[in-house]
């Protein structure tokens, strides 16, 4: 057998795919009004535009309400165990690079029990599209606080209010050397679609945090900044190479004062910091990930987008070189090292 052991590469499907092709027969079991619905339909809308045969999409998830997602996509799907989706999908992708592997995870699944796999998948630049549904709560287990819940969150496990500082999935990912990091929200389908498309286009580990609403256990948790009413004043849409402006008439901007970022109304044009998603250090991206509402707007869009070799390509290079130099042979293998013959 050849060493280029990629399996089951399907032909490009003849006629173009549509959203319908991705709707699975399974009855959806999220609560009415759950933010997960819009994420699902956005995904079903984007996939047909990627020019990838349907059989080459794989959705891998952990455990949680969000992780039920693969059941609702009519693609290959694997609902694994809690927190391990990035690790499982690593094996999927390394074994069959022709697949586009999407990891669906929640704030608990990715950042609590799954934190270690999350950071290592990003660090290795595994070619995975990780969509983190951040509802800042444990939905499936009925509402305990999560690593992204704010201090003081009252939940079944914290009746007196939580005391630990939340993680920012974005800061975390940047600290873990992620090459593509973005944020979007469940109530802005258009923006979500653009971000998903950008993640799909990235060669390597792409993290997308989706601000998602859990109507049952953390309803309106993101409302203060992403509510339709206030959105323009409290979200900052990141655009590469463009000034970091926000507000209804983009009248506000982020400006630099020594090493600190300030928000300023009516800044001079050249005063406003220009977004640079290509900054390899990720320092600006990290800085932006620290801005917190209400003092600052909440940045959404692509924080960082820096090319580097994906783990698979680097590994494949070694395999192919080795195979070319020394084709696989059990005969040679068994007889390697010192041997002797008994008559």
């Amino acid at each position: 057998m050849s060493t280029n052991t990629t399996v089951g590469t399907g032909p490009i499907s003849p006629e173009p795919l549509t959203r319908k092709d991705f709707a699975s027969p399974t009855a959806i079991r999220w609560c009415p009004g759950c933010g997960d619905y819009s994420i699902l339909s956005t995904m079903q809308g984007i996939l047909p535009t990627l020019g990838i045969p349907k059989e080459n999409f794989v959705f891998v998830s952990g455990i949680g309400c969000s992780s039920r997602f693969p059941y609702y996509m009519n693609t290959y799907g694997f609902h694994t165990i809690h927190g391990r989706a990035p690790a499982v999908s690593t094996g999927v992708k390394l074994t069959n690079p022709n697949l586009q592997v999407w990891v669906i995870t929640g704030d608990g699944d990715a950042l609590s029990i799954g934190g270690n796999h999350f950071i290592h998948a990003l660090r290795r630049n595994m070619d995975l599209k990780i969509i983190l549904f951040n509802n800042r709560i444990y939905g499936l287990t009925k509402g305990q606080y999560s690593p992204t819940s704010g201090v003081g969150t009252v939940s079944p496990s914290t009746p007196y209010g939580s005391v630990d500082l939340p993680l920012s999935p974005i800061s975390m990912a940047l600290g873990a050397e992620a090459g593509f990091v973005a944020r979007t929200s469940d109530n802005d389908v258009k923006h979500m679609g653009e971000v998903f498309a950008a993640a799909a286009a990235y060669k390597g580990a792409a993290l997308v945090e989706v601000l998602q609403n859990c109507v049952i256990f953390a309803d309106k948790i993101h409302e203060p900044y992403y509510g339709r009413a206030t959105r323009n004043d409290s979200l900052l849409y990141l655009k590469h190479g463009e000034p970091l402006r926000y507000g209804k008439e983009l009248e506000k901007g982020l400006v630099l004062d020594k090493m600190t970022i300030k928000s300023k109304v009516g800044p001079a044009e050249n005063e406003v910091i220009v977004h640079d998603e290509k900054d390899a250090s990720g320092a600006l991206a990290f800085y932006l990930s620290r801005l917190s509402h209400p003092e600052f707007p909440v940045p959404v869009g692509v924080f960082k987008n820096v090319e580097r070799p994906s783990y698979y390509d680097a590994m494949r290079g070694q395999i192919d070189a080795a195979a070319a130099k020394n084709p696989p042979s059990l005969e040679k293998l068994f007889n390697s090292g010192s041997t002797w013959t008994v008559e």
Binding site: M1, S2, T3, T5, T6, V7, G8, T9, G10, P11, S13, T26, K54, E55, N56, V58, V60, I63, P70, Y71, N74, T75, Y76, G77, F78, H79, T80, I81, R84, A87, V88, T90, G91, V92, L94, T95, N96, L99, N116, H117, H120, M315, I319, A322, A323, N326, P327, P328, L330, E331, L333, F334, N335, S336, G337, S338, T339, W340, T341, V342
Partner: protein, 632 residues
Amino acid sequence: MSTDVQNIPIFPNEKSHIDVDSVTIRFAGDSGDGMQITGTQFTDASAIFGNDLATMPDFPAEIRAPAGTVAGVSAYQIHFSSQDIKTPGDDLNVLVAMNAAALKANIVDLEEGGILLIDEAGFTEKDIEKAEMKSNPLEDGSLAGYRVIKANITELTINAVKETGLKGKSAELCKNFFTLGMMYWLYDRPLNHTMKWLDEKYGARTKYKDKPEIAESNKRALTAGYNFADTVELFTSHYRVKKAALPAGKYRKVSGNEATVFGLLTASQKSGRPLFYGSYPITPASDILHGLSKYKNFGVITFQAEDEIAAIASAIGSAYAGGLGVTATSGPGICLKLEAMGLGVMTELPLIIVDVQRGGPSTGLPTKTEQSDLLMVMFGRSGDSPLPVLAAKSPSDCFAMAVEAARIALKYMTPVVLLSDGYIANGSEPWLIPDHGAIPAMETNLAVPVAGETFQAYARDPVSNARKWAIPGTPGMEHRIGGLEKARNTGSVAYDPENHQAMTNERHAKIAGIAKDIPLAEVMGDKDGDAVVVSWGGTFGTVSTAVEECLKAGLKLGHVHLNYLNPFPRNLGEILASFDQVIVPELNMGQLKMLLGGTFGIPIKGINQVRGKPFKVSFLASELHRILETQK
């Protein structure tokens, strides 16, 4: 084996060749003294000479424990013979002790009257003190019972290599080859193999090319040692161990971990499935990772994961994507893989989990051997989650069992556990190189789209009960699987009571059914004896040798060795029922005992030892005598 030492006359009146059947030598010194190399060289020379043999290294737990301390002692034992042998030997005929600590740690195993070769340079006051000994054994008469051969090997070595320009510490470093030379003389081995090896390792075409003195000085030390033994009246005679009557063919030496590597590569080639190896380093399993990483030319994907959970999870992902997913670790790592193994059981994916067992519980004794993970791999998962469990019986058997594990995983769509242990993983023996062409190709359950049919992920093969393997990328077979209970046939999520019972039964039936597809157990020794000894895994060599001795001594014993722990061979119950007594020797507190008792509802006598070492044949033999006598 101790029985052979009788052949060695204590003081023959003139130097001569004396023939002996088997000899057991242990080279012991400081971690820095190169005892592993010395032992390996002696082993290779003996193998090439045509002896049967078995070896056992014994590493310290630390990387570099303080030089001269007992904690820092590294040893390598070889048992070579003109007969067919299965163990690295009980008592030592020869102990080489490069320093006081090495002597202290190993003298207990030297037979009465055995040869004790000592480097006096390793017995200074400082050495005695580091070894925490009260007095100098070379002077306090404590070695009276042995044939002590003292020489200042270090000094001799320094002189021998002087002319190469090497001096001081780096000259001293050659002393292990000087010692090896002496042993080569004592057992009449040719030097050429080691000479060649030194050239290959340090010669002109290596990274040492501008340090020719290294190869040169080691070669000189080797020759010097040989000549020294020949000329000086150190040994009264030397010994000859004839070629063993091994089956004809081409041989090589393999350790258990090497054999496992070869087996996995073979399985990948024979099944046409890419080998994915996800692992996290741990003693004594790491060498499988190191071994496979070298064979990228076979398309092997070796993935050093962030932890054991990611290691097995990635292997499961690979299996889902059509790879031969493999992971290996030792006890503590298995603990971390159990949840994911359960996922493998529920999703019925082909997967191999290798457990190279070590002393436990917890971190336990990382570098010592034990057989105490059997019940963990059988039962250590939530819910009823059966999977096949195999165990290799010797270093070379790891090859056959790795291939077999893959065959079962792929044919039955199930995770399979392969048990090895620190003793067979690091020990080595001659391996009759198989004809790779003769190894059959492996069946898989790859699904092929059938026009108009909707794919049923859990529809089962009528014979094997395996489900189909529909690999992502195959058009028309898109489906979802996961850890929630599956509906029969369709494989969608199902919570209803009947279905859970039915699927639980199906999972059990599938694994139990594998019994039809594995060899029957066979009774060695006395088929209608008073008792049957049942062994499993790495104790095969010691147990069968002990049983043979007992048979010679007139005990009526049958012996069954199990390579398959789940399912058991289908005739096992019958066999056990045909004996009045069942005796299970194992390197744990009674795990197979529990399994057999619970499965067959019969009383069982256990012989149990957890000392971080293999059984001694003599210990087993006496235990068997004791048990059978008390029966009378």
